[in-house]
């Protein structure tokens, strides 16, 4: 058996994964009947359908007349599994990690997200995604000016060329613009500078 169409192969597994997740989680809710559908009814049917479609696509990937390589994008299984383990810990932490220090939990979550995003694709992918998440968390404590500068520098590292001077001017310009346009202009409730209080 040989995978002929790598695109179908991975797409199929993606559908199976999503379908199975919805199917399994839906079993926590009540099914009801066709007359009075419970919250599990519709998702159970859809989840099963998605799993079946996924299986069909995976099967087809072995017989397809379209040839696509097996390696479509870079994938780091070690990072991926580590992030899944950390994610699982975060989900069940209420059950058996109750007394854990919040900073440790936060750090574990952060590492999990970094690992998850860096398990796929090239550097550009993980950088862009990480910068976005960081922006969300830094905006309140750091204010929009510093966060913008950080985001522009971070995002530029994802590209092919990096010229420090150019990016410095760009980031300062955009920082001034976003403070003026979003905070003063549109009146969005973002702090402009870091809030200095204990």
């Amino acid at each position: 058996m040989q995978i002929k169409n790598g695109k179908d192969f991975w797409a199929g597994w993606m559908y199976i994964g999503f379908g199975a997740m919805f199917l399994i989680v839906a079993q926590n809710y009540s099914m009801g009947s066709a007359l009075r559908m419970g919250p599990a009814y519709f998702p159970t049917w859809l989840g099963s359908l998605l799993v079946l479609l996924g299986i069909a696509v995976v099967v087809r990937s072995f017989t397809s007349h379209l040839e696509h390589p097996w390696r479509l994008f870079e994938f780091r299984p070690l990072f991926f599994f580590a992030s899944v383990v950390l994610g699982g810990l975060a989900y069940w932490k209420q059950a058996w990690l109750v007394g854990i220090h919040p900073w440790v939990a936060l750090a574990a979550n952060g590492v999990g997200i970094v690992l998850f995003f860096s398990s796929f694709g090239k550097r550009s992918l993980s950088w862009i995604l990480l910068v976005t998440v960081l922006f969300g968390y830094l905006l309140k404590p750091l204010g929009i000016v510093l966060t913008t500068i950080a985001l522009i520098f971070g995002a530029s590292l994802a590209g092919h060329e990096f010229k420090f001077k150019e990016i410095l001017f760009l980031s300062i310009g955009l920082a001034i613009f976003s403070a003026a346009a979003f905070v003063y202009g549109l009146g969005l409730p973002f702090p402009v500078w870091p809030e200095l209080r204990g």
Binding site: K7, D8, W10, A11, M14, F18, G19, F22, A26, Y29, S30, S33, A34, L35, M37, G38, P39, F42, P43, L46, G47, L53, G54, A56, V57, R60, L72, Y91, I113, F117, F120, G121, K122, S124, I128, L129, L130, V131, T132, V133, F135, G136, Y137, T148, L151, I152, A155, A158, G159, H160, E166, I167, L170, S171, L174, S178, F182, L186, G187, L188
Partner: protein
Amino acid sequence: MEQLLSNLGLGFSVALSLTNLWYCFIGVLLGTLIGVLPGIGPLATIAMLLPVTFTLSPTSALIMLAGIYYGAQYGGSTTAILVNLPGETSSAITMLDGYQMARQGRAGPALGIAAIGSFLAGSAATLLIAVAAPPLAEVALKFGPAEYFSLMVLGLVGAVVLAHGSLVKAIAMVVLGLLLGLIGTDVNSGVARFTFGVPELSDGLGFVAIAMGTFGYAEIILNLEQGDKREVFTSKVGKLLPSMDEFIYCVPSIIRSTLLGSFLGILPGGGALLGSFSSYAVEKKLTKDRQPFGKGNIRGVAGPEAGNNAAAQTSFIPMLTLGIPSNAIMAMMIGAMMIQGIAPGPQVMTQKPDLFWGMIASMWVGNLMLVVLNLPLIGMWIKLLTVPYRLLYPAILLFCTIGVYSVQNNPFDSILTAMFGLFGYLCVKTESEPAPMLLGYILGPLMEENLRRAMLLSRGDPTVFFQRPISAVMLGLAILLLIFMALPMLRKKREEVFTEEET
């Protein structure tokens, strides 16, 4: 007729108010500004600019969004003509002859006729909406849950049939979208479904996060992977207006394409892409004089641009009257309506006539603005095209991140967007068209609700969908469509159509 005039009168009084005129202008301007950037199609543009409209009143917000849509589409055509890099497939058709014209030093007339053709087609299609929408909405008001359910099935099947690539994968993406739409609190039982204990998810997945991540982020990431290779024809745009002779030569082609595009836009799953593609095919068959198509025939620009705009316009009809999106862009419009607190559907026309007619009138105003704005500003768009991507994308990314965050001021939305960015990237890599997913996401909760109601009314008898005539016809059509597409002969034809379009 009198009714029509008074309705349009109301519409224009709304659309021509200074505030709405201003937002329409800003929308068209911003839409063109983002849409002109290579590699960013209308879908990504609307996703990126969606948060900007949230602070406005519902009418102004929708007027601005519609403006963004036309702007983005026209911007995409500009890029297709000048850079040979289409933002999305609907302008890929314009590229065939438009870029050839640019290479022959006739970029100006190509850009000019694109604007004129779009405007004429848009005006005709707007009138069609004003005429066709009220009777359709009246029919839709009589629909019961069974009819609605079947209509949604038909709409989703239509979208699947017209998606690129594999049929099975498109169906799978729709199902996935439906499931994603179910995340959050179940209205009937109050159970928080699929939230994994995350309180932010109890209101459902954020629409902006999904749209921005899957369409906006994925495009930025893919563009970055590919690197920057562009060839811009900036120096020889020449005079913009086509000559009288060229214009007259294009008129029949604009008329044909407008009719064809208007019709195709109404179909479930139809829209700009279908309009431009079919118009090009028809014009190619009918035009035998002057240059052959693909070598810089001006009709190859005028036709698809008119068809594309007419279809883009008439695809508002099912959205406005039935509350059912026919393509991913209309799904975004519905998402925006829901965020504004308006339940889309036939009741919008009677309950909010100012919004309904104001939006229709603003479509014409927006189309006019496009012509007025773009012809003089073309120099600016060309300047923008020469800015290197390494400076553009950090700025685009910044606006996206701020936009997502500003919806709820919650970092959780940033994580969600990043997740969907990754998802969008994987979708492109595995050739799973994400547009049907967005349709499913919008329709998921509606479908479940109507299915529940229909089954309750029929006392649990599933044959109700075939007993009610309208519902039966729609389901029958959906099944027929699926069978036809699965036939080997037609499937081959469909593959040919889509591959021809991509190259």
